[in-house]
Structures are given as structure tokens and as C-alpha cells.
């Protein structure tokens, strides 16, 4: 091999090795893009108990800022992925959107999404904290007498916010809470004093289907 050719081959090796160190095209895909094939469909009825069951199935799974997709296996599939790196889980507002089966926009009607669907929905914590009249949820009193399970507690600060769902009402300003917490704790069930925290407001979805449906409610 001539000297020039050897140089070309060496450069080719170097370039190829460097190129190889970059993520291969397949690896550029995120966990979410590879595992989230869920569907969704319009939903005429949605009970609090159905929402609660939907939410509780995600306990133990991950958290993803801006995400919405779960693989229901009881653990966080992407514990070391950056919070916006395409990993498993919803964030708190996306989790609430899917659990409440909210519409993507007003006229679309309520919509169920499977856990495996990677969708966040249009509502941020700002929306839950200060809902527009057209939104399918509204602020309510946060006394125990005024709330029910699957109502939410929401706070909003200058750089961040949080919204969490009541699984079972507690006492002393605390409740059993199910929520997409953050990238450290994932989606969890906890007993937390959000109700008694002055920063939180209570927010309720509208138009829940009665628990007795389709039987005649007495």
C-alpha cells in the first residue's frame, strides 16, 4: 500500500470509528418512540372509579417531563434517562390529562388514551391552576367536604408547578395521593399534605359519569 493510500485508510478508520461512537440510527430513537404504540378513542362515559383504577395502574412507573407513555410492568423502565429524554412516564399535568380522559380541544369530547399512548395533552399546570371557562375542569373548595377522590390539588410557582390526584381522602390536610411526581420518584402513591399546603388549590373535572351508571341511580 502506498503511503498516500495508507493515510486515506487511516483517516477512513478514524472517521468511521468516530462515526461509530455517535449513536447509531436505531439508537437515536428514544424509549418512548420504540415502546409507545397505544391507541385512544372517544369516550362518552368515564367514572371516578375508572379514572382511579387507570391512575393506580401507573404507580411504580416512571416520570417524563412532557411525556405521557407508560409500559405497565411495575417499575421505571428508564430510571437513568434525563427528565426530557424520551423515557417512560407522564409528567403531572399529562398524567392528569390522561387519567381524566380529557378532550384535546373543546369540541372533541372526552377521550380515552391507553397507558402506552405517548400523549401529554394541551393542559399545563398553569391551565389547572387558573382554568379558562371553556376548560373541562374548574376550581373548587379544598375542604374535605367539597372534594372527592380523583379531584386534583394543584400549585403553580414562577418556574414550576405541580398537579396531583386524590386517590383516597385522609385527614389533617393530607390525602393518599397518586401523581407523576418527578424524575426521581416517578409515578407514585403517597400520603402527602398537599390539601393543607397554602400553595395548593383544588380543581375538579366536570361531567363525571355517575358510579351507578348504567344502572338506575337511587
Amino acid at each position: 500500500m502506498r503511503r498516500g493510500e495508507r493515510s486515506v485508510v487511516a483517516i477512513a478508520w478514524l472517521v468511521l470509528l468516530l462515526a461509530g461512537l455517535l449513536p447509531a440510527p436505531h439508537a437515536l430513537a428514544t424509549w418512548a418512540s420504540e415502546h409507545c404504540n397505544g391507541g385512544g378513542w372517544p369516550r362518552q362515559t368515564w367514572k371516578r372509579s375508572q379514572a382511579d383504577n387507570y391512575a393506580m395502574q401507573a404507580v411504580g412507573e416512571g416520570y417524563e417531563f412532557g411525556g405521557g407513555c407508560y409500559r405497565l410492568n411495575g417499575f421505571d423502565d428508564t430510571p437513568n434517562t434525563a427528565t426530557d429524554g424520551g423515557g417512560e412516564g407522564a409528567d403531572c399535568s399529562g398524567f392528569t390529562f390522561k387519567t381524566w380522559a380529557l378532550p384535546l380541544s373543546g369540541p372533541d369530547g372526552y377521550h380515552f388514551w391507553e397507558h402506552e399512548k405517548n400523549i401529554h395533552g394541551p393542559y399545563s399546570t398553569w391551565a389547572y391552576f387558573d382554568p379558562a371557562p371553556s376548560y373541562p375542569f374548574r376550581l373548587i373548595s379544598k375542604t374535605y367536604a367539597a372534594t372527592a377522590f380523583m379531584d386534583a390539588l394543584v400549585e403553580r410557582h414562577s418556574t414550576w408547578g405541580h398537579v396531583a390526584l386524590i386517590h383516597q381522602e385522609g385527614s389533617g390536610g393530607s390525602d393518599y395521593i397518586v401523581h407523576a411526581r418527578n424524575n426521581t420518584m416517578g409515578t407514585e402513591l403517597r400520603y402527602l399534605p398537599y390539601r393543607g399546603d397554602g400553595d395548593f388549590k383544588a380543581v375538579a373535572r366536570e361531567d363525571w359519569t355517575a358510579e351507578c351508571y348504567p344502572s338506575r341511580c337511587t
Binding site: V9, W13, A24, F149, G170
Partner: protein
């Protein structure tokens, strides 16, 4: 020609090597790695247990069942019953629960709530057979409820409380910035819809030193009583934990939530015991003279080990749940919310007699987080209890005399919510101090409040 084939081989080999390396790098950095499967089929009972009741008044109880990792039909309840044994009666009375919301509601009639109190346990008949008892030991290990009979009742001094005008602290014990330095603390989140988490807990040692759980750096930071950095102690987990310091300086920490793990540590951080906690939703840990107990639900404290280093079996943990546990000095004290915006504070005087007070809160104010009640050598007590209204929140600092009367009552600002063990944001430091954790974007700090009347 040979040289051409050699070049092609080199190029093909380079591509193969590059793809292999790239795939490996991509697979590990972009998709992450799986952790071990957690959870299991055992039902978790979510109960707001009662330790105090009004004699003669109906006692309302609530409980639900959650089966991690199990499809709903396998966890469906067909019957829910509370078994009640009233003092002075001959046997257990069954009271059926009503299904409501996400659980069951039981109303124990006032006729079963005599002055001397009662015992109870819960039983859930499962649709697919069998039953779940809570506590696990059923009639052999029931919850014990005392009553407010004989306790003094009082309103908030002055009649009203302004949660928006908290009392200022007496001094700042320590300020720690966020960062990776020796006397800095870690903080994650705090952007967009991601809740921030800073140090997760702190406790006070027998000498007044402060032990701060800087979980993000897998360490406890130990500060002198005046807040100066002393040393770091390694933590056995990189998860938010609650921390407790024992009478001899030994340490205990617990991860939080479902499927928690409690650890006992030597003062230098060596792990002496590692105990899985399959019961309930863990939010706190204490070190009693009998070892560590974890809080698994309201008024539910479970021991975690049979002896140092040996985990207690799950059914024994559940059977051994206590409504209240002693502090490291052996004294028992607790508070509980009662119907009608009232709080019962109960403690043992040094002579072993019971003291207490039922505090009527002003209109619009509700009872919040139970931080602590601590009996004092003079027979009185200090308590810190959260207060909240529709628009605000604060913490009440109360000093009681030995006869239960209120000596002093103040409100202080709500502590940080970035500390994951929320109850541990307010700590007692004898003889008359309360330390409170606060945080903002600049850093973390602990403020000191002196309690009047001590």
C-alpha cells in the same frame, strides 16, 4: 487488487466496529437500563387509623385496599367489616362498612365508644376467596383507641388566628447553598411540571447537632448545634429519606412511599441493618428504645426488625402496628384531628399519668400536618401542628402546662415543601426550641424558634 481488497476489509471492519460501539453507547445512554421489578401481589391497606375518639359519639373510619401489580378483579372486596371491642363489654361487635369513593366507610356507633375507649380491627372479604385482616393479627393485635374523656377543652387564645401573619424566627441556625460542595446540598427538579426536591429530612441529635439528609449526594450532613459543618455520613441509598437520630447517636433512615426500605446505621455510616417494609405507605421513621419504627399510615407505626440486622417478617410487622410510639427518651405523646375542627393533644407526664387538651380551632381553620408533641420535665408539653384554611397555611407552636392548659400559642410560617418527609420539616430541640426547615431558589436554611413559657 490485493491492496484494494484490504482497504475494503478495513472499511467494512471499521463500519462494523463503529455500529457495534454506537449501538452499545446508544442503547445504554438513550434508552436507560431496567431496574428490578418491585411491588407484589400482597394487598396494601390504606387506612386513616384513629387513636383518639369522643366518648359516646359515632366514630367514623375509612379504609381502602390497593394491590400493586394486580388486575382489579383479583383485588375486589366483597365485604368490609370493622370488629369492635368496647371496654367493659364481653365480646367483639361487627360493624359492616359501606363502599364509597375509593374505599370503605365504617361508622362505629357511639354506644360502642365508652369513656375507657375501644379496640378495633378491619377485615376485608375478597371476592375471589379469603380475607385480608388489618392489622394482620386481627383480634390478637387490634388498634387501641383512647377517648377525650377527662381532657380539658379550650379555644385558641384570643379567639382567632391569622395564618398570614406568622411570627418571625429568633435566629437562623444555618444556611446552605445548592451545589456539590462539602457544606452545600443537592436539589433536583424545579422547572416546568417537575416538583423540586431538596434535602429530604432532618433530625436533631441528643447533643443538639443537626443531621440533614442530603440524599442527592448520598450523604447525611452533620452540623453542630450552632449550624456549623462537622462531617458527612454516607447514606446507603440515593433516594429521599426520612432520618432519625437515636439516644446514643445511632442513625436510622427510611426511603419513602410504597415498598420502602429502612436502614440502621452506625454513627460513621456503616449499614448495621437493612429492612424491607412491605406494609403501607411509609412517610417517617423514629428510633425508639426498642429500635426503629416506620410510619406506614396515619396512627400506624410498624417495627421493622426482630433484632439488629434481622428484618421482621411482613406479617409480624403488620401485626405489631402501634397507634403511637415512644420518642427516643421513652415518652409517648401524640395528637389527632377530631370532628368539628378540633385537635386532641395527649402526652404522658414524667410520673406516667396522662395529660392532654382538646383544642377548638377558630372558624375556617383546619388541622394540618402532625409534626410532633413532646412531653416536658415539668409535666407540660410542646407541640407543633400544621394549620390551614382555604387560602393559607402555617404551623402552630403550642406550649401546654402540666394540667393541659395553654401557656403560649404562636403561628410560624409554613416550612419548605421541597423536603419530601413533610412531617420532619419541624423538629423539637430541648428544652425550649423548635427548628424549622425553609428553602427558596437561593438555598436551604434552618430557623430557630424559642417557645415561650418554657
Amino acid at each position: 487488487m490485493r491492496a484494494e481488497r484490504g482497504r475494503r476489509r478495513l472499511i467494512v471492519a471499521g463500519i462494523a466496529a463503529g455500529l457495534a460501539i454506537g449501538a452499545a453507547v446508544g442503547a445504554t445512554t438513550l434508552t436507560g437500563a431496567s431496574s428490578e421489578v418491585s411491588g407484589g401481589p400482597s394487598p396494601v391497606v390504606l387506612h386513616v387509623a384513629k387513636v383518639v375518639a369522643d366518648p359516646g359519639a359515632d366514630l367514623e373510619l375509612r379504609a381502602g385496599l390497593f394491590c400493586p401489580g394486580v388486575e382489579a378483579p383479583a383485588c375486589e372486596v366483597s365485604t368490609a367489616t370493622v370488629h369492635v371491642l368496647s371496654s367493659g363489654t364481653g365480646g367483639w361487635t361487627e360493624v359492616r362498612g359501606e363502599a364509597e369513593e375509593s374505599g370503605y366507610r365504617f361508622v362505629v356507633p357511639g354506644t360502642l365508644v365508652p369513656d375507657d375507649g375501644l379496640s378495633y380491627w378491619l377485615e376485608f372479604g375478597m371476592r375471589e376467596g379469603g380475607s385480608v385482616r388489618f392489622p394482620d393479627g386481627g383480634a390478637a393485635t387490634p388498634f387501641r383507641v383512647v377517648t377525650t374523656a377527662g381532657l380539658r377543652e379550650a379555644g385558641w387564645p384570643g379567639g382567632s388566628v391569622d395564618l398570614s401573619s406568622p411570627r418571625p424566627s429568633d435566629s437562623t441556625v444555618t444556611r446552605l447553598g445548592y451545589g456539590d460542595g462539602a457544606s452545600q446540598v443537592g436539589r433536583v427538579g424545579g422547572v416546568g411540571d417537575e416538583q423540586p426536591l431538596g434535602p429530604s429530612s432532618f433530625d436533631v441529635g441528643p447533643d443538639g447537632a443537626i443531621f440533614l439528609a442530603d440524599w442527592a449526594h448520598e450523604r447525611l450532613i452533620v452540623l453542630s448545634p450552632r449550624g456549623q459543618y462537622r462531617r458527612a455520613v454516607p447514606l446507603p441509598t440515593r433516594r429521599p429519606v426520612d432520618v432519625a437520630v437515636g439516644a446514643q447517636g445511632q442513625l436510622a433512615v427510611s426511603t419513602l412511599g410504597l415498598g420502602a426500605t429502612a436502614f440502621e446505621l452506625a454513627a460513621d455510616g456503616r449499614t448495621l441493618g437493612r429492612y424491607r417494609v412491605p406494609t403501607g405507605v411509609v412517610e417517617r421513621i423514629v428510633l425508639t428504645p426498642d429500635g426503629p419504627f416506620v410510619w406506614t399510615g396515619p396512627a400506624q407505626w410498624a417495627p421493622v426488625r426482630s433484632r439488629l440486622g434481622v428484618v421482621m417478617p411482613a406479617d409480624v410487622q403488620s401485626s405489631s402496628i402501634a397507634a403511637a410510639v415512644p420518642a427516643r427518651d421513652g415518652a409517648v405523646a401524640f395528637s389527632q384531628e377530631l370532628p368539628g375542627r378540633r385537635i386532641a393533644f395527649v402526652w404522658a407526664r414524667p410520673d406516667g399519668s396522662r395529660a392532654g387538651l382538646v383544642l377548638q380551632l377558630p372558624s375556617g381553620v383546619q388541622a394540618g400536618v402532625d409534626h410532633f408533641v413532646r412531653g416536658l420535665p415539668d409535666g407540660g408539653a410542646i407541640a407543633a401542628r400544621g394549620l390551614w384554611s382555604e387560602s393559607g397555611s402555617a404551623v402552630a407552636l403550642l406550649r401546654f402546662a402540666a394540667d393541659g392548659s395553654i401557656v403560649a400559642a404562636d403561628v410560624i410560617a409554613q416550612p419548605t415543601q421541597e423536603m419530601d418527609a413533610a412531617s420532619s420539616t419541624v423538629r423539637f430541640r430541648g428544652p425550649d426550641e423548635v427548628l424549622v426547615a425553609y428553602a427558596d431558589d437561593r438555598g436551604f436554611r434552618i430557623e430557630r424558634f424559642e417557645v415561650e413559657g418554657s
